[in-house]
Symmetry: C2
Subunit: 449 residues, 2 copies
């Protein structure tokens, strides 16, 4: 346990923010550190795969003939830490408080990605063989929409041939409730540029005579959705596959306190969202549009009386199963053009996208994982979905034709992508135990040739 904690702390000290061009050296350092962890665990053929963007880190252990092969996936890059002033402890100085470890990347994904590495180490360092074959492939561009892992898997499917993928990047429904995520929403992330002229203007001299790009941007983004949360883009919902009745029933049975969720987990003054859908539907199986920020104009200290000539909006849609990211990007672009006021030029740039994906809970790779987790946590494993996107799941399904098993050991209050991200340390240790048991169970099966 001490070694696990020390490895994790050292990994987290590297500010591997893949979306920040200035952090490129640190991201690369995190890749080297990941390779070191692989080697220490006993993996073989450990090496960095160079290409466009940040390196992939690869390693394997393939000495269990006739047994299943798992492709273990994780990512060593992290989200930016800003707004940094809201962190109670420095984001890149991992700090243990009680049972939690606070740092950017603690849960997303270093803390969970380490579980798979230490599950290998538990077998190989004590001289045992692994009960299954494993290939490890960790990437460094998950948080920045990079294409390296995708182009590599497409170009070299034989190098990652497997029976199933094992992904440790999701969360448990409740602290003691083992959970497997069997559905993910897709995403289309875009940057919208709104221009009204060539120079910023003085609001005294020009105010009342000219358009304001910041106001135009605000009008455009608010026109895409009504104030209750319904998306107002024609044909946007077409093709959405709703959850099955069985899934809806199981969601309704999950232990859940909506007031506690609102006040203690989300910590919002009120919940909000599309009328006519329950909270789990809205979070897991309905599309969304969110505005992440609007740049431009003046937001500094004091008073600057400027009419901005340009505003840049970061926005994204979460996609339901059945929605094609390319089509959604086009509908979004068309909708923006159609609501843009006169005298306003808009440009929409798609920064990244992925389709939603769902896995059958009856798939044997999912079922054995559920059993192993039940043994360690002492409770029946539940099947949920996640509203987030793990584009790799769609890729593995499309290119390799394999299901992805998403065993998550994060918690709902881990503050992913937000200040004060943390991981609940007991789940890291139980996670290692559960994965080890999962592999033992899988090792009792023989792969059909």
């Amino acid at each position: 346990m001490e070694e696990v904690l020390n490895d994790l702390k050292e990994w987290l000290r590297i500010p591997s923010v893949s979306s920040d061009p200035e952090a490129a050296g640190e991201v690369r350092r995190a890749a080297e550190f990941t390779a070191m962890l692989f080697r220490k665990a006993g993996l073989e053929n450990v090496h960095l795969i160079e290409g466009e963007g940040f390196p992939l880190v690869s390693g394997d252990w393939l000495h269990a003939p006739g047994k299943p092969t798992l492709l273990c996936y994780g990512h060593y890059d992290v989200q930016p830490a800003d707004p940094i002033e809201l962190w109670r402890t420095p984001p890149f100085e991992p700090t243990v408080i009680g049972d939690n470890l606070y740092a950017r990347g603690a849960a997303d994904d270093k803390g969970l990605a380490l579980i798979l590495i230490h599950a290998v180490q538990r077998f190989l360092k004590s001289g045992e063989a692994l009960p299954v074959n494993v290939r490890f492939l960790y990437e460094g561009e998950e948080e920045s929409g990079g294409e390296h892992v995708s182009s590599y898997v497409r170009a070299h499917p034989e190098a990652v041939a497997c029976d199933a993928a094992l992904i440790c990047d999701t969360e448990m429904f409740a602290p003691e409730l083992p959970t497997i995520c069997v559905g993910l929403r897709g995403i289309v992330y875009a940057e919208l540029s709104v221009e009204t002229g060539e120079v910023d203007l003085h609001s005294g001299v020009y105010g009342g005579g000219v358009p304001n790009a910041m106001e135009a941007a605000a009008r455009i983004v608010t026109a895409l959705k009504d104030d209750e949360g319904r998306i107002r883009i024609a044909e946007f919902d077409e093709g959405v596959i709703p959850p099955t009745q069985a899934e809806m029933r199981s969601w309704a049975a999950l232990p859940f306190d909506e007031i506690a969720y609102q006040k203690e987990e989300a910590r919002v003054f009120a919940l909000h969202g599309e009328p006519g859908y329950g909270l789990f539907e809205r979070l897991w199986s309905r599309p969304t549009i969110e505005i992440h920020g609007i740049g431009g104009g003046f937001t500094g200290e004091g008073a600057k009386t400027v009419i901005p000539c340009v505003a840049t909006v970061k926005l994204s849609c979460r996609l339901a199963p059945g929605q094609d990211p390319v089509r959604i990007g086009r509908l979004l672009s068309d909708a923006i053009e159609s609501v843009a006021p006169v005298g306003v030029r808009t440009t929409l740039k798609i920064l990244g996208s992925a389709a939603a994906s769902v896995v059958d809970p009856e798939n044997p790779f999912v079922r054995e994982a559920a059993e192993a987790m039940r043994e360690v946590f002492g409770q029946q494993t539940v099947f949920t979905r996640s509203g987030g996107s793990i584009p790799i799941v769609g890729l593995f399904n499309e290119v390799l034709g394999v299901p992805s098993v998403m065993t998550g050991f994060g918690l709902p209050d881990d503050n992913l992508h937000a200040p004060n991200e943390k991981v609940y340390l007991p789940n890291v240790y139980r996670g290692i135990e559960a994965i080890a048991r999962y592999w033992v169970r899988l090792g009792e099966r023989t792969v059909k040739q």
Copy 2:
């Protein structure tokens, strides 16, 4: 002319951005430099007046008994330079290109404030007496809404006793057209904080279930105005004093090419504004609401999938004559509360305000200035208004009971408050000549006791 240019360049090299707490030392250095300019011109009793905020710079010459006394006002502070990347030359390295001098503060206000100083120098350095009495009072908080000049004038009206104020901080209607500004709009500048919860959230995990502060801010600000530019706040227009028919007629006679204004001066893709009013009315005598910027969330490079829990909007209203700034602040605050969505908390902080003011073109201090300018520029002086706000004009009227003469030598394309601010140097030299002639004309009058 060389000395004027050198003085101006040296003054402009000091980045006296009064709204930036980190520039406080530079603002103070600009105050000392202003005092040096006063002394060099031959003004007496030159000293810095300390108090809350940045110092006032004071000096006088009062040896023309029986002649009018003018209070000469200017400001030595400047707007922030951002967005700095849009400047073609460094904002604090004054650069002459052709007849223009480029720098932050070139026209607003150092380049124009220097005109009054060098008008004094022209008389006193050649051994002549000034034909009038002058008191100089330059401040360093004009761009940041500071209270020092206001509290000083209110506390020591005898120290600034005068027959009229002379303010050199406005612009000419056209490059060769001498112009006196006889009306200013007022302003209410505010910061609106919009909160939906306590932490930023992940748009995958929470998207569809919670409100978004950035979206709420966009909904609130767009609800204050319709998309054509009509303000939608009840009672907002009450009490507005429209321009007289005579003024409307003279505005209609101004040489003006609306297409050139749009394309070459404002450089916007289309003009915009309240239906039913002509452009000059919209710019000079109608109230506005402008959004200057919306802070919060993520606007950096790359993709961050955050649902912001707080957004901070900088916005301001320009006020027409007849609108009380305190009342408008209250109406704005009430309107924001009434349109704020459920689950959204708003706080409106007024950062600064001033009432509009109008001066009678028939006032003798205005008429003599108009004549002097006509002599130097060789064209009839026109009377315009400015859409901007010079709060000091309202203060002098209220506390001292004197009219303000706004002789402007700036040009419409000077890029005030924007990147690539500049001053047209021939107007600085002609401005000095015109002010000198104005004083000679005024010196021929005897003040009625």
